[in-house]
């Protein structure tokens, strides 16, 4: 590994890179693996000391830590394999997947009804085997969507991860400031992008748009699905309201997904043409630094705390 490569492990700043090179040379000279020790050293405020002093200090640190703490071994592996951070656990990914499939089904069977005058609508209905079949498929999609809704409500109330995510998804003043900051950035008033936590205002918008959409679509759709039963209790104009809202919100949701969600997730220059995060749920360190720096910071602080805890435990045990 060359000194230049080692820059990957740390910052890209010029002063830092100079220091990294010094540390790298010292470690090499003393037959110590730079891959293993370098990441743990670069953060130390050693820049101002002379080379010989630095060497002595390095050796001292290395020897004292030579009990190969978990921290060192963890950081050192990150140099070999690109470290990734799990942002979405399996449950969330499954919820997302099921919702995506349901929505595609609902759009394909619903839009031809809304745009019944378009030639493609007749073609699509014909392809599915007639309006009776497409109506049935629409109800299958609806069942999927309703199930996701129920599972999600359970997830955000009954599980720790869900509750934590839900709290982090609640809109905060910071989201507005972040947006203003990004607008400034877009107009070159600043070169500093807003620093996002676990969920940026974009993701929060997506989440709450879906939340709103689910309420509108499921409530109106249920009325229309169980029309005969519903009309025993509600007047006909309620059904008309449901029809109108169902049709209009369907369009809004479709456009929001196809334009906004797809752009931000897949078509944005860095990810084009497709991002696989919805499959594996992981982000690289670089992506984390770019998109969720505050979340990364939190993860690292938490990791450090955990490490300290384990090493403290080990010390007690030994």
């Amino acid at each position: 590994m060359s000194p230049v490569d080692s820059r990957q492990a740390g910052s890209t700043d010029h002063a830092d890179s100079k220091q990294t090179t010094r540390l790298y040379n010292i470690l090499k000279k003393n037959d110590l693996e730079p891959d293993r020790y370098l990441p743990g050293l670069i953060d130390s405020a050693l820049a101002k000391v002379s080379d010989s002093e630095l060497e002595a200090l390095v050796l001292q640190i290395v020897r004292s830590n030579n009990a190969s703490t978990a921290a060192n071994s963890q950081v050192s592996t990150s140099v070999h394999v690109e470290e990734t951070f799990q942002r979405f656990n399996l449950t969330t990914r499954l919820q997302h997947g099921m919702m995506a499939i349901s929505i595609v089904i609902l759009i394909l069977t619903g839009l031809p009804i809304k745009y019944h005058e378009a030639a493609f609508s007749g073609w699509l209905i014909e392809l599915m085997g007639g309006i009776e079949v497409s109506s049935l498929i629409h109800r299958i999609g609806a069942t999927g969507l309703i199930l996701v809704g129920i599972v999600h409500l359970f997830y955000i109330t009954a599980t720790r991860a869900g509750r934590s995510d839900f709290i982090k998804l609640l809109p905060q003043p910071k989201d507005l400031f972040d947006w203003i900051q990004m607008l400034k950035y877009y107009f070159h008033r600043t070169d500093i992008k807003a620093k996002f936590g676990r969920f940026s205002y974009i993701e929060k918008f997506d989440y709450w748009a879906v939340y709103w959409g689910m309420i509108i679509m499921i409530s109106s759709g249920s009325l229309l699905w169980f029309e005969t039963e519903a009309l025993k209790f509600v007047p006909k104009y309620m059904m008309d309201i449901a029809t109108e809202a169902h049709s209009d919100e369907a369009l809004l949701a479709t456009l929001a997904i196809v334009i906004w969600h797809f752009y931000n997730v897949h078509f944005t220059p860095a990810k084009f043409p497709v991002s696989k995060v919805f499959i594996h749920g992981r982000l690289t360190r670089e992506e984390m630094e770019d998109e969720h720096p505050l979340e990364l910071e939190e993860i690292l602080v938490e990791r450090k705390r955990q490490n300290e805890k384990t090493s403290a435990k080990k010390r007690v045990n030994s």
């Binding site: 007749g122 008309d240 309201i241 809004l252 334009i259």
Partner: protein, 351 residues
Amino acid sequence: MKRSYCLTLIALILLQYTNGWAQTNHPDAKCLICHGKPNFTVTIADGQVKSLYVDTSLVKASVHARWSCTDCHAVVTSIPHPANLPRVECTQCHFSGNKVGAPQGDMYDQYRESVHGLASSAGKPNAPHCQNCHGTHQIRRHTDLESPISRMNVSATCGKCHTKESSDFDQSIHGSEVIKGNPDAPICTSCHGEHEIRMRSDPASQVNAANIPNTCSACHSSAPLMTQYGVRTTQVKTYEDSFHGIAIKFGQKQAANCSSCHGIHDIYPASDARSSVNVVNIPHTCGNCHKDANANYARGRIHVDAEDPEAGIIYYIASFFKYLTITTLIVLILNIILDVRRKLITRKKPE
């Protein structure tokens, strides 16, 4: 036998040629010896007495005034006539390219494919032929008020067989307007067609469930026509946009068409208590398809046009979503454009 037939034929031909100079020898004179007597009758097998009297004044006033009896009754060549004479075939003159100038279009072909023509060729004794609608000796143009196929008389003509339909129609808003002499009002043939009348179940029929909206909209989507009567023209469009209309369009046959709710021959204005779409009758009408339909079905407009402020709350809901969608998309798309622009600029810089 054959010889006497030939002789009669020669005699008839001779009679034809002598026509010019002897008025008393008019070809019809011979026929009228018997058929000119008002009490000339025959008793048919089942005891029915059938008049064989021909009122020549009817023939003289008809479009066939210039033709003589045997021009149509061409099979009558001997006296006394053989039993079971076939009925007159109009096509002996009314065929394409005929030399006597008898009008002929596609009517005969249309008739043959129609429900009436099919019944006739299947040998059904009651199947109507040309004469049943157009008349026999008194055939007149449809513009002639005396004609059985004039606007005013069509319902009665069809009603000779279709009794209930005709009487329902005569009481309906369409029928009563026809009786008043309103030239805009539809008659039987406006919806069912004339020679091409087909079974309702035939997809080519104008009154097939799938074609009903088209048939009604021929008049009901015409603003100049409907405004005179204070009838909305949006009804067709709103129906087509409703789930009933969409389902019909995409081949669902049970879905309601215009006549499922408004009735067929017995159509009345909604304000009329006899109307199937009168507020009081709506639960019953909807109940034909929607099990246990109740008064809730009558609460709210039926033909809803969300773009019309008259639609009330539905209009406001539609407007709310319209502006919500427009503003949301403007903000989102602008944000995307700005984001893409800045990202591409930043990307170029390091190079």
